[in-house]
Symmetry: C2
Subunit: 260 residues, 2 copies
């Protein structure tokens, strides 16, 4: 992996699993890992002058995020997040992530799809031609992600509501919307502690399609669609789907041991 670090198109950020970012088992939660991936995206873009502080009339909007994890960092462990742009298309760009442990082994992978919207018109921009093709110079098309990209998540009409939550101060970001990381937490909270002790999250996939606002009561619908595979939808009070997600768990091999 050493040659990767010398590639200026690749960003790498050293992190540590902080105690309050870890769950009952001392594992970094997917919410906080997602937070680190989004920060890595912002830092990578800032360093290359295509983040929102450089593109002041525009905003990057996260459309989809997929994370697959083999070994989640444990409390106090250091790890790194690598990120790079794999592809730029007219309306979307795809960014990949590798999560690397202290011994430089990959322990997880991520893929995200972003759009750039004009803050006045709310219209997505043509990314291929944006700023004379600025984004194209950072592409690493040959560095493909080993994990499957996002699929289509579909729930039956009779999938039940399993969780409701009134969007509150702590949920809200600078744009006045329920923030992307909090959705991950709310989705994980639809599974009770007994479930979390028995199963470990293996793959997390989320598609953002509409915004939720403070004071709104959101409802989460959930349906099991495979062995420990679940499709979920977050809906606003007006029925609009804000987020679709698919969570895949695996059996916790040490479920019968306490605290492991």
């Amino acid at each position: 992996m050493k040659e990767d670090v010398l590639d200026s198109r690749l960003g790498e950020y050293l992190l540590r699993a902080e105690p309050f970012h870890c769950d009952w088992a001392g594992r970094l939660t997917m919410g906080y890992l997602g937070n680190h991936l989004l920060n890595a995206s912002g830092n990578h873009a800032s360093e290359r002058h295509f983040n929102i502080e450089h593109l002041i009339n525009y905003s990057w909007v996260l459309s989809r995020l997929v994370v697959e994890i083999d070994h989640m960092p444990m409390q106090h462990e250091q790890f790194s997040v690598q990120t790079w742009v794999e592809n730029v298309q007219r309306l979307f760009t795809s960014r990949n992530y590798t999560i690397i442990d202290e011994s430089r082994q990959p322990i997880g992978h991520g893929r995200a799809i972003w759009a750039l919207i004009d803050l006045q018109t709310r219209k997505p921009q043509d990314l291929v031609h944006f700023n004379d093709g600025q984004l194209l110079q950072y592409l690493i098309p040959e560095k493909v992600s080993p994990i499957d990209g996002p699929g289509r998540v579909k729930l039956s009409a009779d999938a039940p509501v399993v969780y409701t939550h009134k969007v509150a101060y702590s949920d809200i970001d600078l744009n006045g919307h329920l923030n992307s990381v909090r959705y991950i937490e709310h989705l994980l909270n639809t599974f009770d502690m007994d479930f979390h002790k028995q199963y470990i999250l293996k793959r997390f996939e989320i598609a953002y399609s509409a915004e939720c606002y403070a004071g709104e009561m959101i409802s989460i619908y959930k349906e099991q669609v495979g062995t420990q595979k679940y499709n979920l939808e977050v809906r606003r009070p007006d029925g609009v789907v804000a987020v679709k997600a698919q969570l895949t768990f695996i059996e916790n091999a040490v479920a019968n041991n306490d605290n492991t």
Copy 2:
């Protein structure tokens, strides 16, 4: 402040207000600031070999935390947290914090009270004599905090329940308890967004007295006790008070300007 940094009894940690740790106005939230203060405590103790990884049969328990803030760090701003031990008594030790901005000006202060419990007996230890007086060598008694210590928070019998929440996966720490930082978020969520736009948190004071567990429905009682001063209690389903808190706000001078 330069001489402080040379004092090995003092810890100082450089931080940055991350986007997903900031609220609607781009201010770091008190929950995440509290998180940073608790991390600073752990790092300071680790570096001086009296953190829990060194005291393996014991655990530090946070009893009280007070934070007063003049200017909360804004999104992307760097800031530092200084921490030191002001006092060691038989059953409690008090630790102070100064939050310092990029120009080395103090922008906030904190005070915390901790106990060290034996994990077998759950009994608090004599901190003056613990490990042949190990803790005493790090004392900076002359460096007193400029803010008032914690007071006694008392609610009327008829204070109403203003918020309920079922303790979930994302709330739970490695000990299986609702974590100290999440209480701060839930307490702030009892105030709606209109309130948060009109007022800014100036002083936050919390006393932890009992643990809450996953699946429990907690109730938060709230009473206004002064001009923008509120007393709150978090109670478990069995009626036991888990946490008492007092939050003091000031008028947001720029409340009528959008997003500031």
